[in-house]
């Protein structure tokens, strides 16, 4: 115990985190910069661009969902309406009525996203919890219906299209080539990430965590919890609108799909799979989601089925998302206990792979039989020929699935007990360190 005369709470604190933070952001910027140089194909650039757009959207969603405790089923309303205003602005720029560079178009989306946040948020944030979720669902449906009712503004079924290659090239940038669009998205994505991270470290950001965890306590500390929810939603809608503006530039078309419940559900999936309790979780989730939605959909029609299964598995076995899986394993490595998990991991991964192969065979043969009957019952899976009309292929698929499932269940139990033992040992070590 020190008894020197330093006044309470005034001792100097070193904050190595801040140094780390500069490093992390610098590294992130570098990744954005370098990725398209590694993955050069047109398809890769498409993937990367869509990831950037979804990252902004998912982080904005997580401001209210993970950080603020508001489960929304209608967040696409803000990104979608932002996108519609952005595409109209793009057309006004083309027509010469709006003097604005294309690079700043996302800001138009953001401003209108925020405006609709002011409007709809006033209604939704009156309530918290389940009523909040219900109201967002209703407003989502309302906006979707309106988007088909007013074809003048929303373009009906066909949507509104535009052309991003307008005006004089600035420093040779025309936004004609996809790579230029990628770098525009990357820039906005990076700036938005930093801004949203900074928001989580402001008084309002921290109090939104407090309102999430214990609204009653927050109220007895002077906070109007409704006001907290409302303000956070407006800020979140602003960033959602930015992602909408980016989408408008990237696709040059905005349709009713942009405000749909499917879009709202997708961003919830992305945030949850990545890990809603961590700031960087939705970033991981967005990458995974785009891989499913764009890359996997190239290979199979059943991609949504696989995404659904993946989501259910995550909710059941890793409710903290991929981010929590990473952090927990890093902790095990930090205490040098990963070696003890190696056998368990091998078992789980191998048996899991067998189970997955069995499931894929079943799903692909079923899809092929029901959807592509005209082309016959034969199909190729993993490069091998399969025939859904021959029973021996079904026997093989069912056998693989059952065998994989049994093995997986046994391995999972072993994994669970090993994992528990390792965690216990870590807890012991932590307590010993604390006592020391």
């Amino acid at each position: 115990m020190s008894t020197n005369a330093a006044p309470a709470g005034r001792e100097i604190r070193f904050e190595p985190i801040d140094v780390g933070r500069w490093f992390v952001w610098g590294f992130t910027a570098l990744v954005f910069l370098v990725l398209p140089l590694i993955f050069r194909s047109g398809f890769a650039i498409t993937l990367l661009s869509q990831m950037g757009i979804l990252i902004v959207f998912a982080l904005s969603y997580n401001m209210i969902f993970g950080q603020g405790g508001m489960l929304s089923f209608g967040h696409a309303v803000y990104s979608g309406l932002g996108a519609f205003f952005a595409i109209h602005a793009m057309n006004w720029i083309s027509a010469g009525t709006l003097p604005l560079p294309i690079s700043l178009l996302p800001l138009v989306g953001g401003v209108f996203g925020a405006l609709f946040g002011v409007l709809f948020g006033y209604v939704t944030t009156k309530k918290a919890g389940t009523p909040f979720a219900m109201i967002t669902l209703g407003i989502g449906e309302m906006v979707f219906a309106a988007s088909l009712m007013f074809p003048g503004f929303f373009g009906g079924e066909g949507g509104i299209s535009g052309n991003r290659v307008v005006g004089e090239p600035f420093l040779g940038i025309t936004y004609g080539p996809a790579i230029q669009v990628y770098y525009l998205i990357a820039t906005w994505c990076f700036v938005s990430m930093v801004a949203m991270f900074a928001f989580s470290h402001t008084p309002l950001g921290r109090i939104s965590n407090a309102v999430r965890d214990n609204p009653e306590r927050a109220e007895f500390l002077g906070y109007d919890t409704q006001r907290v929810r409302y303000l956070v939603l407006i800020v979140s809608a602003f960033f959602a609108g930015i992602s909408g503006g980016l989408a408008a530039i990237n696709f040059e078309i905005v349709t009713a799909e942009n405000v749909s419940a499917a879009r709202s559900g997708g961003v919830l999936l992305a945030a949850f799979i990545g890990g809603a309790m961590f700031f960087f979780g939705p970033i991981i989730g967005s990458v995974i989601f785009v891989l499913f939605a764009i890359a996997l959909s190239e290979w199979t029609k059943a991609w949504q089925f696989y995404l659904g299964v993946f989501f259910v598995v995550m909710v059941m076995y890793a409710p903290g998302g991929v981010a929590s899986l990473i952090l927990m394993n890093l902790r095990v490595m930090k205490y040098r206990l990963f070696g003890r998990m190696r056998d368990a991991y091998t078992g789980v991964l191998l048996s899991g792979a067998v189970l997955l192969v069995g499931l894929i065979l079943l799903v692909e043969m079923s899809y092929h039989l029901t959807l592509n009957f005209a082309t016959g019952s034969r199909t190729k899976i993993f490069g091998f020929g399969f025939d859904g009309a021959q029973p021996e292929f079904w026997v093989l698929a069912v056998g693989t699935t059952i065998g994989g499932a049994l093995a997986f269940e046994a391995m999972r139990r072993r994994f669970a007990s090993d994992w528990g033992a390792v965690q216990e040992q870590i807890e012991d070590q932590v307590q010993r360190e604390q006592r020391a």
Binding site: I207, N209, D213, A218
Partner: protein, 255 residues
């Protein structure tokens, strides 16, 4: 003549047809340490919930330092200088001890709903929070997640959160409930230290805590204040003894 810190006149509260608070008049002068005692179900906690704005009153008037606060929301009453703790620990379990206390300082220091200040740059908030953390004896646990604290530590943190905003009137609802003898002795010391110069109103069951701490005691029975007086006079009050305390008081008095 300054207004009392807290004045209740004709306060009533009914839930459905049941009247829980049946006309309470109470005046607590500034700087007093006032205990509210009474048997289970007498309406002590309900009275606290009315004063702090958690429930609306059915009739009557509540004044805080001369200002009518009847019908105001909890956050409005809090901003006018009244802060409370809860019978069941009510903290932010996922945040560190330090974060818990700092959250309590933000509104009163004027940062309110700001999203243009960087939290870690707010030296006044940090300084005040560090000071409180030290005074509630949790300096060594500063960065521990509040949900992992021991029960007694959580109760101390709750008191820290309650006073951190700098409110003049502090309401503590059974601050020593569920504590061992030695823990509750420490808690009494802590309460005395943390509420120095403030008006303290507390609900408490532990008679040694009540008689050790209070300047004045009000006895609530069936939703009415049957006596409000100095501890020594309460001890001798026949109505109080009959209605509620009886032997317990004599034991305390001679023990």
């Amino acid at each position: 003549m300054t207004a009392p810190a807290l004045r209740l006149s004709g306060v009533r509260k009914s839930f459905g047809k049941t009247e829980i608070i049946r006309g309470v008049d109470l005046e607590i002068p500034k700087g007093e340490r006032h205990a509210v005692i009474g048997p289970n179900g007498a309406g002590k906690s309900t009275l606290f919930n009315l004063i702090s704005g958690r429930f609306p009153v059915s009739a009557g008037r509540i004044e805080l330092a001369g200002r009518d606060v009847t019908g105001l929301k909890p956050f409005e009453i809090n901003r006018l200088g009244l802060s409370r703790s809860f019978q069941i620990t009510n903290i932010f379990p996922k945040m560190s001890v330090f974060e818990n206390v700092r959250c309590a300082t933000l509104y009163p220091l004027g940062y309110k709903y700001s999203f243009w200040h960087r939290l870690d740059a707010l030296e006044d908030a940090a300084e005040r929070a560090e000071d409180i953390v030290q005074r509630i004896g949790l300096k060594g646990r500063r960065d521990t997640v509040a949900g992992l604290l021991t029960y007694a530590e959580q109760r101390a943190l709750e008191i820290g959160i309650t006073v951190a905003g700098g409110a003049d009137v502090i309401l503590l609802d059974e601050p020593t409930a569920g504590m061992s003898r030695s823990e509750s002795d420490a808690a009494v010391e802590l309460i005395r230290r943390m509420t120095e110069g403030k008006t303290l109103v507390m609900v408490e069951h532990d008679m040694s805590v009540v008689f050790g701490l209070a300047d004045r005691i009000s006895v609530v029975v069936y939703g009415e204040v049957i006596a409000s007086d100095a501890p020594a006079r309460i001890r001798e009050n026949r109505a109080v003894q009959e209605a509620y305390l009886g032997t317990t008081l004599t034991e305390v008095a001679h023990g």
